[in-house]
């Protein structure tokens, strides 16, 4: 079930005309009419289709391939193998069951699929290990031929000792990261809690979107050799990676992605290594066949490569009397694919160092990644940093119990503070420019009536009956909000309309709409008069932009570009008044006017005519434009707002079946200033509907002998539907990021983070048993109850 319940906590009366109000998404018309073109929707004349051959073995050498039968099929154009296309497949090896080891290009997808089945492969099966826990054992099969073990420790340092000025400005690469003296710190503590073997499996259950790429290599048009059609939110980065495959100059390649579907799994809108193989197949085939080639994954492939992603965490927390968090020691290990060493670092940053930077004096963090013969090519399975937050939030609850404290109070006492050290996801060192966890917890506690429902740590012992209700909390923190810049071009025209241009992709989270609203606000022109052109590398640069982070990040450039236009238009208009400068005039929907006499208004046609110096053309202002371009970083005083919020889950546990039902999520975020509230509610609802189901129902079934996914359906891999979760979304508007033109902060990518922990804590409140392994399946609940 899902019901709307909205409230705004601490909202202010902002003086804006456009911002702060709900505006329809500027892409709405395309999306409700089916005109939104996703990459799978492009059809080009002569286009060919590629499909993949997959290894059934988790680890094997490919001795030989006989492609003759496949090549004999009418309509087959090319068969790519590790032997004739080593630049596509690197080596004749399979590293997991389902690994793409060859591809067939044909006139239709059906022909390609059929011919794939005719490729005969001789394998030499090799020892394998199918999960990260076994992979860490000393006798485990080694996944990578050039490695001595499957476990590696990240050495990319992000913390150091304080400088003499008290700033954490030094950065040292070390396998042990942090600051202070953790051993001494724990000696100084009154309460120490240590939780080990916390296991989290994140499973981003896909609703298939035909992910992939189409490559159109056109050697007869040397000025634009290659065009890529794909779903991306970082078009320039993806173009660079794609063009590098064939060594095509960036200036002669072009990437198109007007719409990106909402799949944050392996390597789609965020690029990534898994996607690279599709790109390589399509690129080489298109070059050699002289035709556009589409390589899109089918449903089975998407389910396979979206399979769960594991982590293992140990957390040790030391508190001083009263619940002041003084020392933290955390070792976090994730199953991480080759070329992907960022996930585990993000997890500890969000879960520990960033979330609880208020009082802590001693911190030690070790981040590791372990490889198994399973999904070695992903970059991210799901978004956010659920695994790290899950571990820390479970430990915080147990610490609160050990100290006899309200778990929400303990979190509020130690949560992120403005001016506190940042997780330093980007260089150089930064400091948090906003806070608000405490208020977010107040909001969800009030909304759920936490005080009366939680009932204290003895509450589980007082509950009877088969079905028992529980309530639990979790903190939402995320590393979102980096400061790499993006560019915006803003134009205004004589009829009083304006246009923004950016390369930014769009998965519908509202970032184009938010930027258009900001430009309208600056220009003083109705939002409805604006438009936005985007989704192509033909337009100004942007980084990977997603959700409110995109609005926040790109907002700096949008603001400056619009200010640039505004100043030019005011300068033109001032020429129409005696002895006026741009500072003496203002502009609105109808034109430019003297601040001292708003009724004497000059139209924009009149203003723009001043661009033409020849008197004979003064009435031709209608054909001109004023343009402003800005590339601006968010950086100001090395401050980053990050994401901060809270959630509470309520649920019922059936102690006979282990089933969990009656799921209700209440979630809040300090968004600084809610520029477009509906877009933020959307993100919150989404986070609850992702983070909850990932931990509740992520029950992929795999073949124990090969790791091959067996549950290619949404029965085992169950995503939430309309019927499952009641969500309550609360926007908290406190002081946001003061460096942002409008005080906005990100509140998007970290939305799934706290839900697994809150659900686990709610289960404990219901039955008095800690379940520290996800997913919270009936079997795991019954196991915790000692019934299986």
């Amino acid at each position: 079930m899902a019901e709307t319940y909205k409230e705004t906590f601490g909202a202010k009366d902002y003086p804006y005309k456009v911002l702060g109000k709900n505006k329809p998404n500027i892409t709405a018309a395309d999306r409700v009419t089916g005109k939104a073109m996703f990459d799978y929707d492009y059809y080009l004349n002569g286009m060919l289709f590629s499909r993949s051959v997959h290894s059934p073995h988790p680890s094997a050498k490919i001795i030989s391939m006989d492609t003759s039968k496949a090549e004999a099929v009418e309509g087959v154009r090319l068969v790519l193998t590790p032997f004739n296309y080593p630049d596509v497949f690197y080596e004749p090896r399979a590293y997991f069951a389902g690994h793409e080891i060859a591809a067939v290009v044909a006139d239709t997808q059906d022909i390609a699929d059929y011919a794939c089945n005719l490729v005969e492969v001789e394998y030499e099966k090799l020892p394998h290990v199918l999960n990260m826990y076994d992979a860490m054992k000393s006798d485990a099969a080694i996944v990578w031929p050039d490695a001595e073990q499957n476990l590696e420790t990240s050495e990319a340092g992000f913390f150091s000792e304080k400088t003499p000025e008290g700033l954490y400005a030094k950065r040292v690469n070390s396998p042990v990261q942090g600051f202070g003296d953790v051993e001494q710190g724990f000696k100084e503590c009154d309460h120490i809690i240590e939780v080990d073997d916390i296991r989290h499996a994140m499973q981003h259950i896909p609703v298939s979107k035909g992910r992939g790429i189409m490559v159109d290599y056109n050697s007869s048009e040397p000025s634009k050799l290659v065009t890529y059609y794909t779903g991306s939110k970082g078009l320039y980065a993806d173009r660079a990676r794609n063009a590098g495959v064939l060594g095509v100059p960036l200036g002669k390649s072009h990437l198109v992605s007007p719409y990106a579907s909402s799949f944050w799994g392996p390597g789609h809108i965020f690029g990534g290594p898994s996607f690279e193989r599709a790109n390589r197949i399509a690129s080489f085939a298109s070059r050699d066949l002289g035709k556009p080639v589409s390589h899109h994954y089918n449903y089975h492939e998407e389910m396979q490569i979206s399979n769960y992603w594991q982590s293992l965490t140990r957390v040790k927390l030391g508190f001083k009397e009263g619940g002041i968090l003084h020392a933290m020691d955390m070792t976090h290990t994730t199953e991480s694919g080759k070329n992907t060493y960022t996930a585990e670092r993000n997890a500890v940053r969000a879960g520990g160092m960033l979330a609880y930077n208020r009082n802590i004096q001693h911190m030690k963090l070790v981040t590791r990644h372990a490889s198994a013969h399973r999904l070695i090519i992903f970059s991210y399975v799901g978004y956010g940093t659920m695994d790290g937050v899950f571990a820390v939030e479970m430990a915080m609850d147990q610490a609160a119990e050990a100290m006899g404290m309200d778990p929400i109070k303990l979190r509020q006492l130690n949560s992120m503070k403005k001016g506190g050290f940042d997780c330093a996801w980007s260089r150089p060192m930064a400091y948090c420019s906003a806070e608000g966890h405490a208020e977010c917890f107040d909001a969800v506690a009030a909304s759920t009536n936490w005080a009366s429902k939680w009932g204290g740590w003895n509450a589980p012992n007082t509950k009877t009956g088969v079905v028992r209700s529980g309530i639990g909390a979790g903190q939402k923190t995320h590393t979102g909000g980096g400061w790499n810049g993006s560019a915006m071009l803003c134009k205004m025209f004589p009829d009083g309309t304006f246009e923004l241009t950016s390369s930014m992709g769009d998965s519908g989270q509202g970032e184009p709409t938010g930027n258009l609203m900001m430009a309208a606000e600056v220009l003083g022109i109705p939002y409805e008069r604006g438009s936005m052109i985007r989704g192509s590398t033909g337009f100004p640069y942007s980084i990977y932009l997603g959700g409110s982070t995109g609005t926040w990040n790109l907002g700096y450039s949008t603001w400056e570009a619009a200010q640039n236009v505004r100043k030019q238009v005011l300068t033109l208009g001032a020429q129409l008044f005696d002895n006026a400068t741009f500072e003496d005039v203002d502009m609105d929907a109808d034109g430019v006017f003297l601040k001292t006499n708003p009724t004497d208004k000059k139209t924009y046609v009149q203003c723009f005519a001043k661009l033409q110096t020849a008197p004979a053309f003064e009435n031709r202002g209608g054909s001109y434009e004023v343009a402003g371009y800005a590339y601006r970083r968010a950086l100001k005083g090395l401050c980053v707002p990050r994401e901060k919020g809270a959630c509470i889950w309520e649920l019922d546990v059936d102690t006979e079946t282990g089933g969990i039902s009656n799921l209700r999520a209440t979630t809040s975020d300090n968004v600084g200033f809610a520029m477009n509230p509906d877009a933020l509610y959307n993100q919150q609802s989404q986070g609850a509907n992702h983070g909850g189901p990932w931990s509740l129902w992520g029950g992929a079934v795999t073949d124990p002998s090969s790791g091959k996914l067996l549950s290619y359906n949404w029965i085992y891999d169950y995503p939430s539907t309309q019927m499952d979760i009641t969500t309550t979304c609360i926007l908290v508007e406190l002081a946001g990021d003061e460096s942002h033109p409008f005080g906005a902060t990100p509140a998007s990518e970290g939305q799934p983070n706290p839900h697994a922990a809150a659900i686990s804590n709610a289960i404990y409140n219901a039955i008095g048993k800690r379940v520290i392994h996800t997913p919270f399946t009936p079997a795991n609940i019954l196991k915790a109850l000692g019934k299986v």
């Binding site: 329809p24 999306r31 409700v32 298939s208 799949f263 509906d678 509907n689 995503p719 539907t721 309309q722």
Partner: protein, 216 residues
């Protein structure tokens, strides 16, 4: 002839039609799928009776037996085209008629992304054969608007930004249209049931329910 008509009017299945249908694999499969649909349909949903099943089967057989040429009525326009018997309606609509507003998700009838209206009822285009839909009135997302004027349900979704990435939106709108055609002021439960077959990975389910609740 008169005797056969009487048999039909009695609500039974004529022996000749039954033999016609069941004697051919494709026809049998069609009966099977229709019966399954009947079994799964909510009680209040109108389902075809046995006579209609047979008529439908006969029609399918005729189509399959024809030399690959089928006439489809899509969004009010008639299209006569060569159709292979195994082609799904989703494939034909997207790749032969260029109606790519119809999105394909799972391609196996689980997600509702490819929902269209067939004779006014929601149908999954990915699990329906193109030859099966000959003679039926097919409406895709492209056929809802009347020229520049959006369908009222499209307007509802537009004004409320009832989507995120928009990939599942066409299918969801078709489900909402089918519901609101029957019930202009549905209850919360009716809306949830009507949309529950449309998996939305962006998952702002609150908004979807509340949008449709506004009715048309």
């Amino acid at each position: 002839m008169a005797e056969e008509e009487k048999e039909v009017k009695k609500g039974g299945v004529s022996r000749r039609d039954f033999i016609k249908g069941s004697g051919i694999v494709v026809g049998g499969a069609a009966i099977g799928s229709t019966v399954l649909a009947v079994a799964c349909a909510p009680a209040e949903v109108e389902v075809p009776g046995p006579t209609q099943v047979v008529e439908k089967t006969v029609e399918i057989v005729k189509q399959v037996a024809a030399p690959g040429v089928t006439t489809l009525t899509v969004n009010g326009r008639s299209h006569t085209l060569k159709v292979e018997p195994e082609w799904t309606l989703a494939f034909v609509l997207r790749e032969k008629l260029g109606l790519v507003g119809l999105k394909v998700g799972c391609d196996r009838g689980e997600c509702g992304t490819c929902n269209i209206l067939v004779d006014g009822r929601t149908s999954l285009a990915c699990t329906m054969l193109a030859v099966e839909s000959a003679g039926m009135n097919i409406v895709t997302i492209e056929g809802l608007a009347n020229g520049p004027n959006l369908h009222p349900v499209q307007k509802l979704f537009l004004e409320n930004s009832t989507f995120q990435c928009g990939y599942c939106t066409p299918g969801m709108i078709m489900s909402a249209v089918a519901l609101l055609d029957k019930t202009s002021r549905p209850t919360v439960d009716q809306v949830k049931v009507a949309l529950s077959g449309n998996l939305c990975y962006c998952s702002d389910y609150n908004r979807q329910v509340n949008t449709v609740l506004k009715g048309v």
